[in-house]
């Protein structure tokens, strides 16, 4: 026990100042620390792992600390100027630092430094039960100019220094009427000026399960710009009507009966209500169990007082002059429990026993758990339990705050990196998806060692793997794992051109990275002598993407680049408002999102949604599990179904075989190919197993000079459309052969002939390969290499010329089982 226990009998009415008399000056408590603040437990701070951190200013006995700790906060620091308050707070928070002193005599920066030295950097929450005597209607010396009304400025100094995620300030309901409401407005404005979005509301503790009607005004501020909720919403209490409020009986009926001045330190009955179970540490909230029963001592009443209480009906005032001093009604919640001045008498009579409440009973009515021990003597313990904010109400109010901060921390845990071809497109994707609220770093994407010899080798291996065929416009990775790629084009998607970028999609999906393809549904073309008209997308691209998805179980989705085609179809293309841009709708912000599709379009909104599904899935399930589950996702499935319906719509009954590039293929018996290649066989060499094992061969006829686009992408698409059954080129049903030249087929003789119409020659292929060798460092001596080039050399040692060959050579050699020229052939043996 702290100070001498002063029995109520010794507080003589004649000696006790009348606190209700306006003309009697407010007494100062003898327990106020007026000299320099004193810090306790500076070396004993132990913050549990994973805890959110808080400061409890004007902490009193610790109502905020208790309620917030139930929600996952750890109070690293509490301060109050009343000695019994800090004695109590310190005893119940042995791993925290506290300070006995006037907050006006402390320096927030000094305290921040103290905490930082002890490993506490960021503070998530600052709470403040700013002394209410200045505002309280119950204090009939209610005075707008009371110095205690301005203590919130001290609170705001701490907010300024610590810059927490959330702030809560709690006060009596009388704050609303103080200075005509100006104090409420001033506090809100002060919080807002520090960058907080503020919610102010009146809350009743009874609605949150506290067996007491206690109206309080709360201010909750959320710091802007931290990926936290835009505004705090005061949650509704579960006990919404007065009929459902918890009662005094449900709060204290399990506590042992006490005679006058009697103390009991053991329970004599089991809890008989959910509330009592909770208070005894056996409920749903993780609360320590008490070590025995504490603070359960009946006041020492004179017989006159005992008789007075006994003769008073439940719910009625015991003293006509003091209406707040009532005998509690067992079947109702308690009225607001007060401190009752600096040396309070008992406020409430026990409903069934002729005495005032014990401190434990007052604590129960305030929802302090039984494990929480009050220290200071019965009178000061009345002050503490009367002034406190109910922990259970605070718990319910703070739970969503803890969840919000934890959500933010969880999201911030992931590091996203966006590899881009243009920064505009990176910003476009970031700003319109969940990435806008994540930690994101942007990096320039270098396509190949051939294109960017100075920089390509600086990219991480897992990104380079996706680029081995061709580079998409954007790759997003989370925690060093790619999670999706995006390719955007404004090219007309007719004929073979529809597949120009297909290799990029294939490379992404083959590395199990979902691919998104933004492609125009149509593009306005103006040819000499004819009116502008739409060149419409080749629907075969939908089939090719679907084939890729079927084989890899990874999304490869197409979204239309927004355009005027829906409103201005052929023959009205000339009227299209965006005819200058070939009918395509670009984003209005041509500076920030240069070259990007109109973000306000429905198609792009759908794509952003789908990208968000990918982000969410990989965050929730991990990158690998998230990616493989995506085809089951409803949003992804809906898009896949849409693509399927678009194929049917745009094919208009045309057979897939009649569409480019399938229409440029011919199926022959593999024997025909083997017969053709037999010219290269001899006594010591036979064509290998790979080609022989497949009964049929698909030949892609490119009657043009050897070159790249659009043929590499078309070849890749043909693999998936006509040959591939598994995840590697070895798992094909049919061989895939590329012919540069004019092809004729003799079915009877199982013979094929390749002739030259366009100057196509195998020498062109060899020339391009040799040209790529200029990027090859492997023939150089160490002394010839500059330091900056050594990492590039080392990459080539590992990967050879994989990345240094020109793109079409890489793609042809990857997808084609054989390439036939009029004057030579290349083929795979295995």
């Amino acid at each position: 026990m702290g100070k001498t226990d002063i029995a109520d009998a010794q507080i003589d009415a004649a000696e006790q100042p009348d606190i209700w008399n306006r003309h009697v000056p407010v007494e100062k408590s003898a327990y106020v620390q007026e000299t320099a603040p004193v810090f306790f437990n500076l070396d004993g701070l132990r913050v549990p792992d994973g805890s959110l951190t808080m400061l409890d200013l004007f902490c009193g006995a610790g109502g905020f600390s208790v309620g917030c700790s139930w929600a996952g906060f750890f109070p690293v620091f509490g301060i109050d100027y009343l000695e019994p308050a800090i004695t109590t707070w310190k005893a119940n928070h042995p791993d925290s630092i506290c300070c006995l002193g006037d907050i006006r005599l402390t320096d927030a920066e000094t305290i921040r430094g103290l905490l930082a030295e002890r490993g506490v950097g960021h503070i998530n929450l600052i709470t403040g039960g700013v002394p209410c005597q200045g505002f309280s209607i119950a204090n009939r010396k209610h005075n707008d100019l009371d110095n205690r009304n301005f203590l919130f400025l001290e609170y705001m100094k701490f907010v300024d220094v610590f810059d927490p995620d959330y702030i809560i300030l709690e006060n009596v309901s009388g704050m609303r009427s103080t200075a005509g409401g100006q104090f409420e407005k001033d506090i809100k404005a002060s919080m807002e000026s520090m960058g907080y979005t503020v919610t102010v509301g009146m809350v009743n503790a009874a609605e949150y399960g506290v067996p007491q009607v206690r109206q309080r005004l709360v201010f909750v501020g959320v710091k802007k710009g931290r990926n936290l909720s835009a505004k705090y919403a005061i949650p509704n209490g579960k006990y919404s009507s007065s009929k459902s409020y918890r009662t005094v009986e449900s709060a204290i009926s399990d506590l042992p009966k006490l005679g006058n001045n009697e103390c009991k330190s053991r329970y004599t009955a089991k809890p008989s209500s959910e509330y009592q179970t909770l208070m005894r540490g056996e409920g749903e909230i993780s609360i320590p169990k008490p070590k025995g029963l504490s603070n359960h001592t009946a006041p020492n009443h004179p017989q006159e007082t005992v008789d007075k209480i006994a003769s008073t009906k439940q719910g009625q005032p015991m003293y006509p002059k003091f209406k707040q001093r009532i005998r509690l009604a067992a079947n109702a919640p308690s009225p607001t429990q007060l401190a009752g001045g600096i040396r309070p008498q008992f406020q409430f009579g026990h409903p069934t026993q002729p005495r005032g409440l014990s401190i434990r009973e007052r604590a129960r009515i305030q929802s302090f758990p039984d494990s929480y021990v009050f220290i200071g003597g019965i009178v000061q313990e009345r002050v503490l339990t009367g002034n406190a904010v109910p922990p259970l109400m605070i718990y319910e109010l703070v739970k969503p705050i803890a969840e919000d901060i934890q959500r933010k921390n969880e999201e911030s845990r992931h590091m996203y990196r966006v590899w881009y071809s243009t920064e505009s497109f990176a910003d476009y994707i970031i700003d319109h998806t969940l990435l806008s609220s994540r930690q994101v770093v942007k990096n320039k994407l270098y396509e190949s060692d051939a294109n960017n010899p100075a920089r390509f080798h600086t990219m991480p291996d897992h990104i380079r793997k996706i680029l081995y065929l061709d580079a998409p416009d954007l790759i997003v990775e989370k925690d060093n794992e790619p999670i999706f790629s995006v390719e955007v084009t404004t090219e007309a998607g007719t004929g073979h051109n529809a597949f120009q970028r297909f290799a990029r999609i294939a490379a992404s999906v083959e590395n199990e990275v979902p691919a998104f393809y933004i492609y125009p549904e149509g593009v306005i073309i103006k040819r000499k002598g004819s009116s502008p008209r739409w060149d419409v997308i080749n629907p075969a691209v939908f089939k090719a993407l679907d084939a890729v998805m079927s084989i890899y179980d990874i999304p490869a989705l197409l979204y239309y680049f927004p355009s005027d085609i829906t409103d201005y179809p052929n023959p009205n293309a000339a009227d299209a408002p965006n005819i200058r841009n070939k009918g395509l709708q670009f984003d209005r912000d041509i500076v920030k999102y240069s070259g990007c599709p109109n973000s306000a379009s429905g198609e792009m909104a759908k794509m952003f949604d789908a990208l968000n599904e990918v982000i969410s899935a990989t965050e929730a399930k991990g990158t690998n599990s998230g990616r493989v589950s995506l085809l089951r996702n409803l949003v992804i499935r809906e898009r896949r179904d849409f693509m399927s319906s678009q194929f049917a719509l745009k094919a208009r009954g045309q057979d897939l075989g009649a569409m480019s590039p399938i229409s440029a293929t011919v199926e022959v018996p593999t024997q025909s190919l083997l017969n053709y290649l037999s010219r290269y066989e001899g006594a010591n060499y036979k064509i290998g197993e790979l080609l022989r094992n497949r009964e049929k061969t698909i030949i892609y006829k490119v009657n043009a000079r050897f070159r790249g686009d659009p043929y590499p992408g078309a070849l890749a698409a043909l693999d998936y459309l006509l040959c591939r059954e598994g995840k590697t080129f070895e798992e094909r049903r049919n061989n895939l052969v590329l012919v540069f030249g004019s092809l004729s087929v003799d079915s009877d003789d199982q013979a094929i002939t390749v002739t030259d119409d366009n100057g196509s020659s195998i020498e062109s292929f060899f020339s391009d390969v040799k040209h790529s060798e200029q990027h090859n460092l492997l023939s150089k001596d160490y002394s010839e290499l500059e330091n900056s080039v050594i990492p590039r050399y080392f990459m080539q040692v590992r990967y050879g010329s994989t990345y240094s060959k020109v793109k079409h050579v890489r793609v042809y050699s990857y997808f084609a089982d054989a390439i036939l020229f009029p004057d030579g052939s290349l083929w795979r043996d295995a």
């Binding site: 071809s421 243009t422 920064e423 505009s424 084009t489 040819r527 841009n581 041509i590 240069s594 070259g595």
Partner: protein, 148 residues
């Protein structure tokens, strides 16, 4: 500063000062307008150029070739455009909706990259704009007293 950033910084300042952007492009933007040489309109023909910025205000048109550094080949390209009018038909078609009094051809670069070579080559162009930061550019060479 990349070429993309140079172009976007100039675009930002032009738009803020009331210029209409007729065409713009930077590497991989996909926005470029291909201008064919005079009398050749086959879209697949080589020899076409893609301007980095064409902007119009009042009767004035600015034609930009932008880079992240000084490239003398760009000065030669601009000189050729001014002198030979090789793309006049394409440019006029692009500007058909505007009443143009004068077209000025110039270079956009990061301001700090302006060097002695660029200075020496200045007379081959109508202007040089140096980008200091987004929304802040300066004329490094401006014999025609143009304003952004």
């Amino acid at each position: 500063m990349t070429e993309e950033q140079v172009t976007k910084a100039i675009l930002s300042e032009l738009i803020d000062n009331g210029w209409t952007i007729v065409a713009y492009d930077f590497p991989q933007s996909g926005t470029g307008k291909l201008l064919h040489p005079n009398d050749i309109t086959d879209e697949k023909n080589k020899g076409g150029i893609i301007p980095d910025i064409i902007a119009v205000r009042g009767g004035t048109c600015l034609f930009f070739e932008n880079k992240d550094r000084v490239v003398l080949a760009d000065f030669k390209k601009i000189e050729s455009l001014r002198r030979d009018n090789r793309y006049r038909a394409a440019i006029e078609a692009l500007l058909a909706d505007f009443d143009i009094n004068g077209i000025y051809y110039g270079i956009g670069i990061p301001s700090h990259k302006f060097n002695a070579q660029a200075k020496a080559a200045s007379p081959t162009v109508d202007f040089i704009v140096g980008v200091i930061s987004v929304g802040k550019s300066e004329f490094l060479y401006n014999p025609n007293n143009l304003t952004l």
